[in-house]
């Protein structure tokens, strides 16, 4: 049916594939936290201080919210009396079956309802994340995209020039790619913030500024942006440069380049050919490493106490705030999947080989 529109068919195929991956991610997100401990026990064990009666109300509302407890006709949690070692009767909520829990979870997730935060109750998980997502996107998207572009350009140059440039550049790039994100972030904080006081050590903007659409806020945010930006940018650029360098060396040894050189084609033009052909596997590489990059960048956010998802996750972990942990992991996975999908589509449009394959009816 879609034979006439090979590109569209390809896009639909990929979309279907990523939808499947998303569903698996949802299952993982549901199942893994239930591996170690029962969520009902966790909720019953939550103690955020204050009036015991209020605590009880909070716990019960959580059990209802997450579809964990059985409810009677009036929508109240059904209790089960348990006798413990001292012979004291305790009221324990009756659990729903695992299948029922799962359908509730999927249903609510698809509606965009991820429940409330334990720690910041009654704030919704989606609100907690809504505050953090813009910071993370503003930090990670440009660092990864620019890191990719600059890294590839330098890598191609190293492959083409070889000689001294390569001999200095390559070990440097290797060192940068080997430095863990958070280590590099810490070094930057230590020197540029603590020792030399050139940039702020933490936060996304100065503490005395109220976020809003004004010059003061954006100026402060840009100032706080410098160190986190460089700590992610340099490392992802280093990794890309290494990949591009070996791809470039490989391309330069191919017959078509030798032939072009022999024909006297201009250097810049040859470089362009090499770059174009070597870039595509690099794009695929980017798609594959996105997950690891985003993970590393999240840790970097924590080093800088940047108000993004990494920090939200760290706080949630410290407070055993399960709903937020699960929400953050789900949103990150979703973003990574969307980014991957975008790269796939880009490849389909950029790579003449994929296009030709599509038009011939292959996949």
């Amino acid at each position: 049916m879609l034979k006439q529109y090979p590109t569209l068919r390809f896009i639909l195929q990929r979309a279907g594939w990523y939808l499947l991956t998303f569903l698996v991610a949802v299952v993982i997100n549901f199942a893994l936290p239930r591996l170690g401990s029962d969520p009902v026990d966790i909720i019953m064990g939550q103690n955020s201080g204050g009036d015991p009666a209020m605590q009880e109300i909070k716990r019960v509302s959580f059990l209802k919210e997450f579809g964990l407890a059985k409810l009677d006709d009036k929508g109240e949690v059904v209790y089960d009396s348990v006798t413990n070692a001292q012979g004291v009767k305790e009221r324990m909520p009756v659990k729903k079956g695992i299948v029922e829990q799962f359908t509730t979870y999927v249903g609510k997730t698809l509606q965009g309802d991820l429940g409330s935060s334990f720690q910041k109750y009654p704030k919704k998980v989606t609100e907690v994340m809504g505050d953090a997502v813009p910071w993370t996107v503003a930090l990670q998207l440009p660092t990864i995209v620019f890191g990719w572009i600059i890294g590839n350009l330098l890598g191609a140059l190293a492959a083409y020039k070889r000689g001294t440039f390569d001999r200095v550049f390559f070990p440097m790039a290797l060192l940068f790619s080997a430095v863990p994100f958070f280590v590099f972030g810490m070094l930057l904080v230590y020197f540029f913030a603590v020792q030399w006081g050139m940039f702020p050590a933490m936060g996304g903007f100065a503490a005395d500024i109220v976020p809003g659409f004004n010059l003061e806020f954006f100026g402060s945010a840009a100032y706080h942006y410098v160190l986190p930006f460089f700590s992610i940018f340099l490392i992802s650029a280093g990794g890309q440069a290494i990949g591009m360098r070996s791809m470039g060396i490989y391309e330069l040894g191919t017959d078509y380049i030798k032939y072009a050189k022999w024909l006297g084609v201009k250097e810049t033009r040859i470089l362009l050919y090499v770059f174009r052909n070597a870039m595509l596997p690099q794009l695929t590489g980017l798609a594959l490493s996105l997950g690891a990059m985003v993970g590393g960048a999240l840790i970097t956010e924590m080093i800088f106490s940047y108000p993004g998802l990494g920090m939200a996750m760290l706080t949630a972990i410290q407070f055993n705030d399960y709903p937020v942990i699960q929400g953050v992991t789900l949103i990150i996975t979703t973003c990574v999947l969307i980014a991957n999908f975008t790269v796939d589509i880009l490849i389909a449009f950029l790579d003449p080989r994929v296009k030709a394959g599509l038009q011939m009816g292959g996949n």
């Binding site: 990523y18 499947l20 991956t21 698996v24 991610a25 993982i28 893994l32 936290p33 239930r34 591996l35 170690g36 401990s37 070889r162 070990p171 290797l174 060192l175 790619s177 080997a178 430095v179 863990p180 958070f182 280590v183 810490m186 070094l187 904080v189 230590y190 603590v194 020792q195 050590a201 933490m202 290494i242 070996s246 060396i249 490989y250 040894g253 798609a287 594959l288 996105l290 997950g291 690891a292 985003v294 993970g295 590393g296 999240l298 840790i299 924590m302 080093i303 996750m313 760290l314 972990i317 410290q318 399960y322 942990i325 699960q326 992991t329 990150i332 996975t333 990574v336 999947l337 991957n340």
Partner: protein, 278 residues
């Protein structure tokens, strides 16, 4: 032997293996010379000096002892996770690539599914659910069990390419079963490749451990380079400019990972003649 000779000609390999052996020596011979006690011996964040080569942490514990414990544990986690990830990845990749058909499809789909879901996310979800009893070994097993995907993908491509070679067909005619062919005729071709995968898996195992330790979800009641770093950061070492709390462990992590990358890259250069320097 010839391979080793070629490798030793590469300065990158020599530096890499030198650094790596250096950290191994430090981890295993260091405890023979240093005082390994983790008792309080000084004031909080006592600076280096007074018999404390690298000062003390916020609890007044000797940093040299902490680092030696941590280094050994980090290496242990890295190796164990690396072995698990490489073994699982190689088995899945080699079998799927060679078998083809529906089995390959299933294995490939599974691999590709888990490749795009960030490993750190899965690690966080598992570790956060394990409230207690997160030992070094358990963390290593989890890292290994979640990190096999890309090695499976890489090995699969190699195995699939070997499948149609003549000597495989001859072995078939000879009556060899799948298992025998895999072990006798495919694995030897992939050995160097699998070894390179293993090197990278050790590095990523060490990195993963320190990453989740930085989140406070690492092994409990023990030391590792990531835990030392996390403790230092959580107790204000970074903001107060306590360099002896931050630098030694960061340098150790980076040295291990960098040396492993150097070894891997130099091996790639030897096995892939095109990358060799003229």
């Amino acid at each position: 032997m010839k391979i080793l000779k070629n490798l030793l000609k590469s300065p990158m390999f020599v530096i890499g293996i030198g650094l790596f052996l250096g950290t191994l020596f430090l981890a295993f011979l260091g405890p023979l010379f240093a005082n390994m006690s983790l008792d309080r011996v000084a004031s909080s964040y006592a600076p280096p000096g007074d018999g404390l080569l690298l000062g003390a942490d916020n609890l007044g514990r000797n940093y040299v002892a902490l680092l030696l414990h941590g280094l050994r544990n980090s290496l242990y986690v890295g190796f164990l996770a690396g072995i698990i990830a490489t073994t699982v990845g190689t088995l899945i990749g080699i079998y799927g690539g060679f078998k083809g058909g529906i089995i390959d499809d299933i294995l490939s789909v599974t691999t590709n599914l888990f490749i795009v879901i960030p490993q750190l996310i899965v690690l966080i979800l598992i570790s956060a659910s394990l409230k207690d009893g997160r030992s070094l070994t358990l963390i290593a097993v989890i890292i290994g069990a979640t990190g096999w995907t890309w090695s499976a993908r890489a090995v699969r491509a190699q195995s699939a390419a070997l499948k149609s070679r003549d000597h495989i067909a001859l072995a078939r005619i000879n009556g060899d079963g799948t298992f025998a062919i895999l072990v006798k005729h495919i694995l030897p071709y992939l050995a160097s490749y699998v070894f390179m995968v293993f090197i990278i898996q050790i590095a990523s195992g060490i990195l993963s451990e320190s990453a989740i330790s930085m989140l406070g979800l690492g092994p409990m009641d023990t030391q590792s380079l990531g835990i030392i770093l996390n403790d230092a950061k959580a107790n204000g070492a970074l903001g107060d400019g306590i360099w002896w709390g931050i630098f030694p462990s960061t340098i150790l992590i980076t040295t291990i990972v960098f040396s492993l990358y150097l070894i891997n890259t130099s091996m790639e250069g030897v096995f892939n003649p095109r990358l060799r320097r003229e």
